[in-house]
């Protein structure tokens, strides 16, 4: 910890040494008394500067002081204060330049010393605070160590306790096990004892029974008898037969016949089941083959797949020769072949399905990408359109401004007014022309609007019709389902669900390739995909494409071409707000557009005023 104390500037220390040297030497000076006084009160130095100097040097001892200073300075390596004497006798002159230089040098040194001292002091402070910090850290860490040590002890204690508990539990478990064993032994012994007792009792009971039997049965009990009015015939009409060996043999025969019949029946059932299963297997195989074979023609197919099918086909061939007989053969001979081929085909199918899955996921990804592209294109188109509109508006504004300027300037000069009149006339003509153009445009827009509403109505009707159709179809489906009796209903439902799902699968499978060529041929995949996504119940995508384009056109135009009759100054803001939706996706251009719009509206207002 004492290291930092030693880290001091060696230059400084040497200087301090110098100072001490210097002070020691000053004792020889005549004014050492004063000097000591000064040294003692070195801190209020600045205050006592005058007094110090006045004390050091007085009128009387100028010479002495100078010589003393000279001596001192020369010892410190300064040049002498006196001028170089030419002769020994001549009194040395005080060299003012040297004195000044020395003074300056001394002052500089003093300043340097002060700076160094300051530095040392701040460093000292810093180091002190560092030390404080480190000490506090040390204390904290010590505390932590203590707490963790305590914790460790606690945990060890707990561990010990738990181990103790565990040992106890083990002991208990062992005891319980022993108890269970003991009880089981007891139960077993009791059971044997019980059985033994039972047997004994039963023997006694049997003895008693025997005795009773002898007593009751052997004595001719008159009461044991049957009174019958007359014996009735047997149910089968036959007479009772004597018990003979022959009848015994016959009974045996009959029993075995019954057993045999039962086994035959069961065998038949099993055979039937087997045949059914085989049929299913065969059908499955066939379907698999038919499902997998068209792929072979595809050049894209993977090599291993094609080889797989090839192998299975090779194996097929001998089966093909005697397809009927192969199913009649006992399973053992065909089983291996059959299971192998099925397994192979199944593997192929699996890989195929996996591939399809991959494709589907890819298509999904692509689809997303497409959508992105579409939206961007859409945006671009829209921006282009808007920019065009802005351009037009700007032009219009420019012409209007020109007209206004012209109007303003014409007031000044008569000749110019004449000219202006001509201009005005001309302008009027032009405006009229424009007016008629506008009217025509308006008419066109009206027409378009009408056509759009018509299209919308048509669409509504179509949708309604479709809904009805769907409802009727659902109803029919439901009725079909309900006509089945209860026991089959579950199966039917299952079946229908299965078929439904397969239908859906087919649909999706078909719809995908259908979309692709459409995109390619139409060259504008924007509308179709978007529409099919948002409106799955659309009657036909092309219709929608039309209507949608119509909508977009109409909307943009209607917003742009607010007819003068409709616009009022206080409505402008509202119109702008209404318009925001179409540009909302592009916030950067929004403001500009809005301002443009307001411009156009005000413009039109002006235009209206200007019109006769």
């Amino acid at each position: 910890m004492g290291d930092w104390m030693t880290v001091t500037d060696p230059g400084l220390s040497s200087e301090s040494k110098n100072i001490s040297q210097y002070t020691s030497e000053t004792k020889m000076s005549p004014s050492s008394l004063y000097l000591q006084k000064v040294l003692c009160s070195s801190i209020p130095l600045s205050k006592n500067v005058h007094s110090f100097f006045s004390a050091f040097c007085t009128e009387e001892n100028i010479e002495q002081s100078i010589s003393y200073l000279d001596q001192e300075l020369t010892t410190f390596g300064f040049p002498s204060l006196y001028e170089e004497s030419k002769g020994k006798e001549t009194k040395r002159e005080l060299n003012i330049v040297a004195v000044l230089n020395c003074m300056n040098e001394l002052l500089i040194r003093q300043r340097k010393n002060l700076l160094a001292q300051e530095n040392v002091e701040t460093q000292n402070l810093k180091l002190g605070s560092d030390m404080d910090h480190l000490q506090s850290c040390y204390a904290k860490l010590k505390e932590q160590l203590e707490t963790s040590r305590r914790e460790m002890i606690g945990l060890q204690e707990r561990d010990r306790q738990l181990q103790c508990k565990n040992r106890n539990l083990h002991q208990l478990l062992k005891n319980e096990k022993d108890e269970v064993q003991k009880l089981q032994n007891i139960i077993a012994s009791r059971a044997t004892q019980y059985n033994h007792d039972m047997k004994r009792k039963e023997r006694e009971y049997n003895k008693l029974k025997e005795r009773l039997h002898q007593l009751v049965m052997n004595k001719k009990d008159k009461r044991i008898a049957m009174e019958v009015l007359n014996y009735v015939g047997r149910a089968d009409g036959k007479r009772g037969s004597w018990r003979t060996d022959k009848s015994e043999a016959r009974n045996e025969d009959e029993m075995y016949k019954i057993l045999l019949n039962d086994y035959e029946y069961r065998q038949k059932q099993i055979l039937m089941e087997n045949a059914e299963l085989k049929k299913v297997l065969q059908q499955m195989k066939k379907e698999m083959i038919s499902l997998l074979s068209p792929q072979k023609q595809k050049p894209i197919e993977k090599a291993d797949d094609s080889t797989g099918t090839g192998i299975s086909d090779v194996e097929e061939d001998p089966g093909e020769l005697s397809r009927e007989s192969i199913w009649d053969l006992s399973c053992e001979t065909v089983r291996e072949q059959l299971t192998n081929s099925i397994r192979k085909q199944w593997r192929i199918l699996k890989s195929h399905v996996e591939k399809l899955d991959n494709q589907v996921s890819k298509v999904h990804l692509e689809g997303f990408n497409d959508e992105d592209v579409i939206s961007r294109q859409d945006h671009e188109e829209e921006t282009e359109k808007l920019e065009l509109e802005i351009q037009q508006c700007k032009e219009m504004i420019k012409t209007q401004q020109q007209l206004l300027q012209q109007l303003a300037t014409t007031c000044d000069d008569d000749t110019t007014s004449l000219l202006q009149d001509c201009y005005l006339l001309e302008e009027k003509e032009r405006l009229k022309e424009e007016w008629s153009l506008f009217k025509e445009q308006k008419k066109n827009f009206e027409k378009e609007r009408r056509s759009f509403t018509e299209a919308a109505i048509r669409l509504g009707l179509e949708r309604k019709a479709f809904e009805e159709e769907r409802a009727s179809w659902l109803k029919q489906q439901f009725l079909n389902m309900t006509t089945f009796d209860h026991q089959n209903s579950e199966n039917v439902r299952l079946f229908s669900a299965f078929s439904g799902s397969s239908d859906r699968d087919n649909l999706t499978v078909h719809s995908r390739p259908r979309q692709k060529p459409y995109r390619v041929s139409n060259g504008s995949p924007i509308c179709t995909s978007k529409l099919t996504k948002s409106l799955p119940a659309s009657p036909s995508t092309s219709d929608f494409c039309q209507t949608r384009s119509c909508v977009s056109e109409h909307s943009s135009i209607s917003v742009l071409n607010m007819t003068p009759e409709e616009t009022r100054p206080n409505q402008v803001g509202g119109e702008c707000a209404n318009q925001k939706w179409s540009v909302a996706s592009r916030p950067a251009s929004q403001d500009g557009c809005c301002s443009e719009c307001s411009w156009t509206s005000t413009n039109s207002h002006v235009e209206k005023d200007g019109l006769p």
């Binding site: 039972m198 049957m226 019958v228 014996y231 009848s247 009974n251 209860h486 026991q487």
Partner: protein, 453 residues
């Protein structure tokens, strides 16, 4: 659904004849035979004492009335009312009496199971079978009436004897691997005999007709075992209900367990329909009456939303024959359904779908289920729970029907007519018939119900 008037009855002795034409019932010592269609009394026989057991012969020609207290059996003929037969077992006593399947022999078991006497109505001959075992179900005739399997006990070992019923010749005699045989039953096809051990041990053994052991099944050890056993009519399944509250279904090919049906008190499977009988509440709780019978029912079924927890009974552990385990088991005639009752959930009937091997429906009654029986023709289950109502379930739905008439008619037991057109409801000392609609109507009604429920 129509109900007949109420007739007197003792000891719940009321049986339809096997051909479905007649109905025999006993009131004290009188045996009354009625025509089922008109319920007119056809014959009236007077026995020597109060009848304790009544049984029709298989050809519906004779009726056996046993009076165990007197050791007497009286047989009556429907064709010849004047014909009579009286069998006296004398001092040997009588504890059980039954017809042989040909309807010409009567098997009487003497007291203490000393022997079984086979009395013939055709000849004077009497046969004796010694050492019959006193157990839950010791006698079993095969469905075709050809063979009789009899449990025997000799020298502290269980045996089974198979007799040919036509001449009572012993066909096979073999010992069974049981501690204390409790019951035997033929499969409906008559080729396999199921044998089960006493409740102290879970053991089911299957024997072929020729005495070979086909299989042995043991689900667990050291606990109370088999409580009830039932064959499916197709002989395809053997359902074994046990004290652990489970039914295990064995298949007929490998005789291994196909599945086990646990009977949990909490039902959480959303596919299971739980019908809960509820006291009649003002209409509109569910918007419709659950019972469209001509009389207002006092209870109705509501479909409870799963999960449902059923009322359970805490069995007394320190008493014999604890009320736990599956005590009642019955397959529907088409083998599609299995109805069970777990004795510690006494209010519920479980109906299992045997095609999907899962729980199909649970009916929770207000009272404990006394008995249930399947319609012999259709998958339709009649249930009674000791109240004045009879409950019918079919896959389409279920109804609760109040038995009309003054006073409380507590249905303790019921039995179906062979055609399923009517149902005899038995109370302690009365019975009445419940006529269900003819097939088309009934189907319509049930269909309607199904639409409701």
């Amino acid at each position: 659904m129509n109900f007949s008037e109420v007739f007197k009855l003792t000891s719940q002795l009321c049986k339809f004849s096997p051909d479905g034409k007649y109905l025999a019932s006993c009131a004290q010592y009188r045996l009354v035979v009625r025509e089922v269609r008109s319920l007119q009394v056809l014959q009236l026989f007077t026995c020597l004492d109060q009848v304790q057991h009544l049984e029709w012969s298989a050809d519906s020609l004779f009726i056996l009335c046993a009076m165990y207290k007197r050791g007497l059996v009286q047989v009556w003929s429907l064709e010849q009312p004047e014909w009579h037969c009286r069998i006296d077992e004398g001092s040997a006593g009588l504890v059980a009496s039954c017809w042989s399947p040909d309807g010409r022999h009567i098997l009487n078991t003497t007291e203490f199971h000393l022997r079984i006497t086979v009395w013939s109505l055709c000849t004077k001959s009497v046969s004796y079978i010694k050492y019959p075992k006193a157990c839950q179900q010791g006698i079993s005739f095969s469905r075709d009436g050809r063979y009789l399997a009899l449990a025997e006990r000799r020298d502290c070992k269980d045996y089974v004897s198979i007799f040919v019923c036509s001449d009572w010749q012993l066909l096979r005699h073999f010992d069974t691997d049981t501690q204390d045989l409790a019951g035997i039953e033929w499969a409906p096809n008559g080729c396999v005999l199921a044998v089960w051990d006493t409740c102290l041990e879970y053991k089911v053994l299957l024997y072929s007709l020729d005495g070979r052991q086909l299989a042995a099944y043991c689900a667990y050890e050291w606990s109370l075992g088999v409580k009830s056993v039932a064959w499916s009519p197709s002989s395809q399944f053997l359902a074994v209900g046990s004290y652990d509250g489970k039914v295990r279904i064995l298949n007929h090919v490998t005789w291994k367990m196909l599945t086990e049906f646990a009977h949990p008190a909490a039902i959480s499977d959303p596919r299971v329909v739980v019908y809960k009988e509820a006291e009649k509440s003002p209409r509109g709780a569910l918007g419709r009456p659950a019972c469209p019978s001509f009389r207002a029912a006092e209870s109705k079924y509501e479909i409870a939303a799963v999960p449902v927890s059923l009322q359970t009974l805490k069995p007394a552990a320190d008493r014999a024959n604890p009320k736990i385990g599956v005590g009642l088991l019955a397959f529907s005639p088409d083998s599609y359904f299995l109805a069970t009752r777990n004795d510690n959930v006494p209010n519920a009937v479980w109906v299992w779908d045997m095609q999907k091997l899962r729980l199909f429906v649970v009916l929770e009654q207000l009272g404990p289920v006394r008995s249930f029986q399947w319609d012999p023709q259709r998958p339709r289950l009649a249930i009674c729970s000791g109240g004045s109502k009879v409950y019918l379930w079919s896959p389409a739905g279920c109804v609760s029907v109040q038995v009309p008439g003054e006073g409380d008619f507590q249905v303790l037991s019921l039995c179906w007519h062979v055609t399923g057109a009517s149902l005899a409801l038995l109370s302690k000392d009365h019975f009445c018939l419940c006529f269900l609609e003819t097939e088309d109507e009934a189907d319509g009604a049930i269909g309607q119900l199904g639409a409701h429920t």
